[in-house]
């Protein structure tokens, strides 16, 4: 006869409520772990998925994620000329916040290097990758945008042609994907009045210069759009992402590019390290510490619950001892109940988490490894927290049963 099962069966309502309580507590522990993992995964998501071996960024910066990086568009062609480079792509990345349906909509915009990169690598759940070099957009489902919905950014209107899943920036903002050209148009969009003011300012400055006085045609060119003025640089890239040819040595390619004085270069792992040890490090550590604290609190609460449950059974335990039950029977009664409480609580936490976590504003990633780790922690907590109850039960004298 299993005494633990009989006691649970007899006090089913109470046990069920206790298990639900422990389950909710473990849901929080599991959620904190999931948020921690989500933060780490979000931070490295792009670096993992974009398929780059090397990142070429502005000299002495830790861009393009940890800080702002600006490199000229022509860098793509310079990098392509390096032996061992299979492909070099433009990378434009920035975040915008707009109002959409009366709510703030934060989007991390990633420019794809059209036509090399149309976003075929994106995890699409609906629609398709980009099929033209302008006015199309692939958006992550967390943004709440619908397929074929049209959204105005800057002076242009973009149509959502694809919906991705799980694509978020380091800050947890949903991502949208447009061509690099469109991305720059969004990033460097200037209102007409600002353009007119800038032209007027240029005009005034030119009137004081000999060059413009001697060559009036140059003054006329100042009235043209910024991009058409040769003296003014075109919009810049955030970085150039490089894929090394099969068989080529990434270190050799990196060594060649690192000799250029205007850029810095990072490997994929280096870029991930920059993200994890820089951008999200404090949040990660804070979440980690909070998770550890919650685990300790869960252990204390479980210990108190098991201790209380044991206190309620002291008379029965004394009685069992009186009729000759060996210590292992008493120990088994408490330990089995602790494991059932922990195990069922873990099960509830898992089920609640599965239903609840998708509604969290940031991604909550619960991996099998994390689940296994938490299951082992819960098992450990169950055993440890039952020790207090076991200690109390072992001290019960059989003659306490005679006290009525």
């Amino acid at each position: 006869m299993n005494l633990a099962a009989k006691d649970i069966q007899h006090n089913l309502g109470r046990f069920a409520l206790t298990i639900v309580g422990i389950g909710m507590l473990l849901t929080i522990v599991m959620g904190m772990g999931g948020i921690y993992r989500g933060l780490v995964e979000d931070a490295t998501l792009l670096v993992e998925r974009i398929g780059a071996d090397l990142w070429v960024v502005q000299r002495d910066t830790r861009g393009p994620f940890a800080e702002v990086s600006r490199v000229p568009k022509t860098l793509v062609y310079r990098v392509l000329a390096v032996p061992g480079v299979e492909s070099a792509r433009e990378f434009v990345f920035h975040t915008v916040q707009r109002e959409h349906n009366g709510k703030a909509l934060r989007m991390a915009i990633l420019g794809l290097s059209w036509p090399l990169d149309k976003g075929e690598w994106l995890p699409l759940v609906a629609g398709r990758p980009l099929a033209q070099n302008h006015y199309e957009m692939v958006a992550d489902q967390t943004l709440g945008l619908r397929l074929h919905e049209r959204i105005k950014l800057g002076k242009e209107t973009y149509t959502i042609v694809g919906i991705t899943t799980g694509m978020a920036s380091t800050a947890g903002d949903g991502m949208v994907f447009v061509t690099a050209w469109d991305s720059q148009a969004i990033q460097f969009d200037t209102p007409p009045e600002a353009i007119r003011l800038e032209r007027a300012a240029r005009q005034r400055r030119s009137e004081a210069e000999d060059l413009f006085l001697s060559q009036p045609m140059l003054t006329e060119r100042l009235s043209r759009p910024v991009a058409e003025i040769p003296a003014v640089a075109s919009p810049q890239l955030s970085a150039v992402v490089v894929r090394v040819a099969p068989g080529a040595d990434p270190a050799a390619v990196a060594a060649t590019i690192s000799t250029w004085n205007d850029v810095s270069i990072f490997t994929k792992d280096g870029q991930k390290e920059l993200l994890l040890k820089g951008m999200v490090d404090k949040s990660r550590r804070q979440l980690g510490m909070f998770r550890a604290l919650l685990t300790i609190i869960a252990a204390i609460i479980m210990a108190l619950i098991l201790y209380t449950l044991t206190l309620d059974k002291l008379h029965s335990i004394a009685l069992l001892k009186l009729i000759g039950a060996p210590d292992r029977v008493i120990l088994g009664l408490i330990l089995q109940q602790a494991i059932v409480l922990g195990g069922a609580g873990f099960g509830i936490a898992y089920l609640v988490g599965q239903k609840l976590f998708p509604y969290f504003p940031r991604r909550v990633v619960v991996t099998n490894e994390d689940l296994l780790q938490l299951a082992l922690i819960v098992l450990g907590i169950s055993v440890l927290s039952s020790l207090l109850g076991i200690w109390k039960a072992m001290r019960v004298e059989p003659n306490q049963a005679l006290m009525g």
Partner: protein, 237 residues
């Protein structure tokens, strides 16, 4: 003392505390209970009855004296010669004043657990438990939890549990205290039947003078001293 004694105590003494706080709860308590004998132990509160009962129940060893159960010297002073818990499980049955059934087990399971703890297989223990409950007239309440049983039914289940492992000794601590006089007498008569049919030596601590006629022998205890008041068994013989 007689060789065929279920339990025999020789000069049991129990002293609590020491020096000026020393209290002698039991002094030179000597008693012999035959197999099949029903013994009453009377006495006012504080006389030492519970101390005597917990000593012979191998729960609270005496300071000095000997306890022999079935002819085996179990305790010589506070020193056990056997594993007390195991010995208690195999040779002693307990019946208490009230509510001493395990609340989360049914009537049958309360009896069955005593058998299973003694190594009887689950199926066999279940069968034997039902037999005992039938014998005591509560088989129809076998699957009920203790709170659903009347006081008398609870005591019958407790007696069934005490009998489960065919003990040589049954110790009952005021088993009729929570019952009305009619049910109290029924329980006492049951205990006499148990003693005579199962051959166990039964010691009953009681205040209920109305049922003394069912006992074979009556002892009285006062100020830690024990003395035999009457032996109806001897009278009958």
């Amino acid at each position: 003392m007689h060789e065929n004694l279920a339990i025999e105590t020789r000069g049991l003494t129990k002293v609590y505390g020491s020096g000026h706080t020393e209290v002698v709860a039991m002094h030179d308590a000597t008693m012999g209970v035959r197999h099949g004998e029903l013994v009453a132990l009377l006495g006012p509160s504080g006389a030492g009855k519970s101390t005597f009962l917990t000593a012979v129940g191998l729960i609270n060893p005496p300071t000095s004296g000997q306890i022999l159960i079935g002819g085996v010297l179990v305790l010589d002073g506070p020193v056990p010669s056997v594993n007390l818990r195991t010995f208690r499980r195999q040779h002693i049955g307990f019946i208490f004043q009230k509510s001493n059934l395990i609340p989360f087990l049914s009537a049958r399971e309360n009896v069955q657990i005593a058998l299973e703890l003694n190594g009887v297989g689950s199926r066999q223990a279940r069968h034997r438990a039902m037999e005992l409950l039938e014998e005591l007239g509560v088989a129809d309440r076998a699957e009920n939890d203790p709170p659903m049983l009347s006081g008398g039914e609870q005591q019958r289940v407790a007696i069934a549990r005490a009998l489960a492992n065919q003990p040589s000794v049954i110790l009952a601590d005021e088993p009729t205290a929570a019952l009305d006089s009619q049910r109290g007498r029924q329980v006492m008569e049951l205990l006499r039947g148990v003693a005579h049919q199962h051959g166990a030596g039964v010691i009953v601590v009681t205040h209920d003078h109305r049922t003394l006629d069912v006992f074979d022998t009556i002892y009285e205890m006062e100020d830690g001293l024990i003395r035999q008041r009457t032996s109806q068994l001897n009278v009958a013989q």
